[in-house]
């Protein structure tokens, strides 16, 4: 059977094909993770959160600074306290239990983090263990996401949607340029831990397939995070409130849900997913720069549209579709590699023409 499959593939061995499949799977999983953030915000606010790609970039940068660039301890503590303050301000006096628990957990984590961070290395350099650095990056990035919502979108809830869209574009440019100012525009190399990039060798037929462990870890982590998200969405009160808001925001408000807090929680979750995608992206493609979020951001948005905006499963499906398309088209026709960035946009336009509500989305009628 393997031989038959190999015969079907022109100009490529089966081993190569399997490697491409794994690359595509991990790229698609990353697109899917970012796309979930777009799809959740769009489902609730009908807003394209242009700054989401930059939140993704911030996640990668936070990870980089806490593990590789040796952030001074005082700065780490300051940033962490700011993040906790943001969470406190966003979720204080919350009747629903989960956001409060999240806030308390975060505060506890911050304490643990600071204590552990102080004990590792010298007094000035701050090199926490890996797991803690990941938590640090995710917490800070979620706080950034909540801040973006509070500063740029919440004052415009009653305004025409296009105003919020322009505000989103402005926010995106603000974050990018702020990062250019703070971290300089130079690309920085990310050192990959050897255990994540030492290729595993699997024999297939006569040849050997080399697969980087990351290409397996990324989809697994992605699926775990999505299961967690679905658990939050379908088994908790805030999840119920989120789904209610995406149906009808006014009625939900009348039911006594504090809509602004739920929206902040949505941004928090979306940004946390984007941050984890950013961390994995930086490990997979080991270079970070302030504009690294632009193209993945666009493509993930396209993935969300393709899958049907507002639907989590759709975002994953769209991400996977986009990842497979991008890798496999180039694998089969290498001469097209110059057009790599255009595939996603062509797919977007085809989908918008043929089925504007996406593959899994519900059709939305305009109310008169």
């Amino acid at each position: 059977m393997l031989d038959q499959l190999a015969a079907l593939l022109p100009n490529m061995s089966l081993a190569m094909f399997i490697q491409h499949l794994f690359n595509a799977l991990s790229l698609g999983a990353l697109y899917g993770l970012i796309a979930i953030g777009y799809t959740m915000v769009y489902g609730i606010l009908r807003l394209i959160n242009f700054a989401h790609g930059d939140i993704f970039m911030l996640g990668a940068y936070m990870m980089f600074f806490s593990t590789m660039a040796f952030m001074p301890v005082w700065l780490a503590i300051l940033i962490m306290l700011l993040a906790v303050l943001v969470f406190f301000l966003a979720f204080r006096k919350s009747q629903k239990p989960i956001p409060k628990k999240v806030g308390l957990t975060l505060a506890a984590l911050a304490l643990v983090y600071i204590v552990l961070g102080m004990h590792s290395g010298s007094t000035w350099d701050f090199t926490p263990p890996w797991a803690l650095a990941v938590v640090f990056a995710i917490v800070i990035t979620s706080a950034c996401g909540i801040t973006v919502d509070r500063v740029a979108y919440r004052p415009l809830r009653e305004a025409p949607r296009i105003s919020a869209l322009i505000s989103a574009i402005g926010m995106s440019f603000l974050i990018e340029n702020l990062c250019v100012v703070l971290f300089t525009g130079l690309p920085r190399p990310v050192s990959q831990p050897a255990m994540l990039v030492q290729p595993l060798e699997l024999p297939v037929g006569e040849s050997v397939v080399r697969i980087v462990p990351l290409a397996i870890i990324v989809p697994v982590v992605c699926i775990a995070l999505v299961l967690l998200l679905l658990l939050i969405l379908y088994r908790t009160k805030p999840g119920l409130a989120m789904r209610a808001i995406s149906r009808d925001i006014e009625t939900t408000r009348l039911m006594g849900v504090s809509v602004d807090k739920i929206i902040a929680f949505t941004f928090c979750i979306g940004s946390a997913l984007a941050a984890s995608a950013g961390i994995m992206w930086a490990l997979r493609y080991p270079q970070i720069h302030p504009y690294m979020g632009v193209m993945p951001g666009f493509k993930a948005f396209i993935a969300a549209v393709v899958g049907g905006i507002g639907s989590i499963q759709g975002a994953l499906l769209g991400g996977a579709l986009l990842g497979f398309m991008e890798i496999l088209i180039i694998a089969f026709w290498p001469s097209l590699s110059g057009y790599r960035d255009a595939f996603a946009f062509v797919l977007l336009i085809i989908i918008l023409m043929w089925r504007p509500s996406g593959l899994l989305g519900e059709k939305m009628e305009e109310k008169i």
Partner: protein
Amino acid sequence: MTQASLTKSLRQPGLPKTQRDITCTVVVIALLAVFLYVAENFFDRYTVQVLNLMAINAILALSLNLIYGFTGMFSLGHAGFMAVGAYTCTLLLLSPEQKATAWLITEIQPWLATINTPFIVAVFLGGVMAALFGLIVALPSLRLGGDYLGIATLGFAEIIRVLIVNTNSVTNGALGIKGIPQYGTLWWNFGWLLFTLYIIISLLRSNTGNVFKAIRDDEIAASTMGVNTYFYRVLSFCIGAFFAGVGGALTATLISTIDPKMFNFLLTFNILMFVVAGGLGSITGSIVGSMLITVMLEWLRFIEHGVNMVDLAGWLPFGSALIDKFGPSTTLIPGVPGMRMVIFSVLLMCIILFRRSGLLGNREFSWSGFFNFIYSIPGRVRSIPNWMNAHSAKAAVLVLVLLYIIWLTIRR
């Protein structure tokens, strides 16, 4: 009609209104011509360059305002149309010798190698080519509305950019094209600006313009009234794309180098900023907004280049006294690269958050409004004491600011 407005209207000068307006417009154009003559002959090159940029940016802002402010289609594809215009114009302007040497990776297409047209034809054809691309973009994507349209046009702009990078034999790929002849003088740029203004104003005053505004205000209502909204949306989009192409062509000849990286999303963002800052649906607003922001962006360069302490102290009241006291220090405050764009984005955020309608909202400049304002000045001056009594704190700040401005002007 109240007593005040009645007397105001009675005080209109004797000329019939339209004739007065025409005379005033002609006088302003003549004054502009005198100014351009002076600028061309006596201003330094940098100032002339900024003036050119102001004219081109005004054209671009007007074209986006036609699409977005007057027809209500959120388009993010302007950079793509500019690129089409710029490349078309460049290919038509370059001499055959330049083309023979510039294309390094692949030979240029033979039918392009010898083609050469005068400047005005090249710019015009740049606009026509952009309008054609606009038509190609519009036919499928204008079926969509709202922010989906924005994303689709953004996608098309990216596709155009990727096409330019990859069609080496036409566009020289990622290397770009250098040494474009700089025909674009002040006269050309401001001439094109006046042409754009004339076309867009007369378009908006016609019935077609009314249809555009009807579609903007309520598309469903417009189509219920029997308007073929799709046709008019495509029409508005193509006209906007035409002027975007003209703007791109003029940019290419102004800065004499183009490459695909130039025409990225940032460029569209800049134009959007001009339009939003000036006021959506206001022609005057687009012109004022684009010119103000162009000047401000140039002026803000000191933040990136660094500024001398002495220069900075000169802007402070009693700054010269400070310099005398502490001695002329030449300490350079280092510039922060990228800070200019941070300020620019913060400004856009502030406009959209605190003054969503922009500087002018949807108001327009008109001669009758202008003369009414002139005639109302004596009354306003007479009411100043009352106002100062009522708002003493505001008045004090205002007086201080005025004194500062007067001091700045007499200081030199």
